[in-house]
């Protein structure tokens, strides 16, 4: 799966506080402390139904919305999109700065890494598009 800057990714949002008021919070794009990856799905050329079906099939918890983002906006920030199958179309936005020593939170390297991770998350959130979960008829 070779991705071009025009390809579209989505990060499924599972929590209301991450997209209250239709605004995507940067927290959506902050990985757990022991990870440098943010999990996304490649949704280029898929219909809305097909995209939401990915969430139904691949996620264990309910989804409330999506944050769609073009691959270009990932590349601009010095990050890559690495396919990570299965499941099909799954990929990771990576690498977020590593937290070298979580046991010393005030270590200067850790603080810089946390700041940089949050800065990247801010930039990705700002460039992403909020798509609410459609209500069932």
């Amino acid at each position: 799966m070779k991705l071009s800057p025009g390809d579209k990714l989505t990060r499924f949002i599972r929590n209301n506080s991450h997209c209250k008021g239709g605004k995507i919070r940067p927290d959506v794009f902050i990985p757990p402390h022991n990870s440098v990856d943010v999990s996304v799905y490649v949704i280029s050329n898929l219909s809305e139904d097909q995209i939401w079906n990915i969430a139904i099939k691949c996620l264990t918890t309910k989804t409330v919305a999506r944050a769609d983002i073009f691959v270009e906006n990932v590349y601009i920030n010095g990050l890559k999109v690495i396919p990570d199958r299965p499941p099909s179309r799954h990929a990771n936005i990576t690498p977020f700065p590593e937290l070298p020593d979580p046991t010393c939170p005030k270590n200067e390297v850790n603080l810089t890494a946390k700041k940089d991770r949050r800065a990247l998350a801010n930039k990705l959130a700002k460039k992403s598009i909020f798509i609410p979960q459609p209500t069932k008829p």
Binding site: R14, N15, N16, S17, H18, K20, G21, K23, R25, P26, D27, I30, P31, P32, H33, N34, S35, T60, T61, P105, K106, L111, T112, K114, K115, R117, R118, A119, A121, N122, K123, A125, K126
Partner: protein
């Protein structure tokens, strides 16, 4: 002594109109024709009793809403105070509202943590630190932030700006990670101790200026 209203003060003046500024060596006051009822809207602070008082070298920092030392014609550090009773009530209401929002975030984060063990739990200290930080936010006079949490065990305060986003992140380790990103590439970001009031005030002051544009 009657002071002239400088350009920087005029900006403030437009936001919270006052009729005149009076100063002496020990204290000073603004008089205002603002009506308390008509100004009590949203999260913005209001002028009380048709007068805003401020005094020099006062140590009651709990009452401080604005540090107006930036106003060009005031050479000394001058702190602006609000009516004590109003401020105490406003602060209490602000804290209560914040706690309600934070509890919603806590419920959501804890539920997510029980369903996904990849997620880092948010320590109680992070919630406590948010309440401490909110005191500074309240006194800076900027609107209440929106609260959320992240999978790395942090809590965030977020303000959506016209062309950007401002956040303050807390992990419960007495550290605040703050940033403003605007469309025009203007960025302010940094890390400081929760107890570093000058740095936090400086950031909140920048944010306040951006929010008032």
């Amino acid at each position: 002594m009657r002071s002239h209203i400088s350009d920087s003060l005029r900006t403030w003046y437009q936001y919270y109109p006052v009729k005149d500024v009076f100063m002496s060596s020990q204290n000073a006051s603004f008089s205002s024709n603002y009506d308390i009822d008509s100004t009590n809207q949203g999260d913005n602070p209001i002028v009380v009793d048709n007068e805003i008082r401020f005094s020099m070298s006062d140590t009651l920092t709990d009452l401080t809403l604005f540090d107006i030392s930036a106003f060009g014609n005031l050479s000394e550090k001058v702190l602006l105070y609000w009516n004590y009773e109003y401020l105490a009530r406003a602060h209490e209401a602000y804290q209560q509202t914040s706690k309600v929002h934070l509890n919603e975030v806590r419920r959501e984060a804890e539920e997510a943590y029980t369903l996904d063990n990849q997620i880092d739990p948010i320590p109680q200290k992070a919630y406590d630190d948010v309440l401490i930080l909110l005191k500074e936010v309240f006194h800076s006079g900027i609107p209440m932030p929106e609260f959320s949490w992240a999978e790395d065990g942090s809590l965030s305060l977020t303000w959506f700006l016209e062309n950007g986003i401002a956040t303050m992140g807390l992990y419960g380790d007495d550290i605040v990670i703050y940033s403003v990103f605007c469309e025009e590439k203007r960025q302010v970001e940094g890390v400081c101790e929760l107890s570093d009031i000058p740095v936090l005030s400086g950031f909140l002051s920048i944010l306040s200026n951006i929010l008032r544009r």
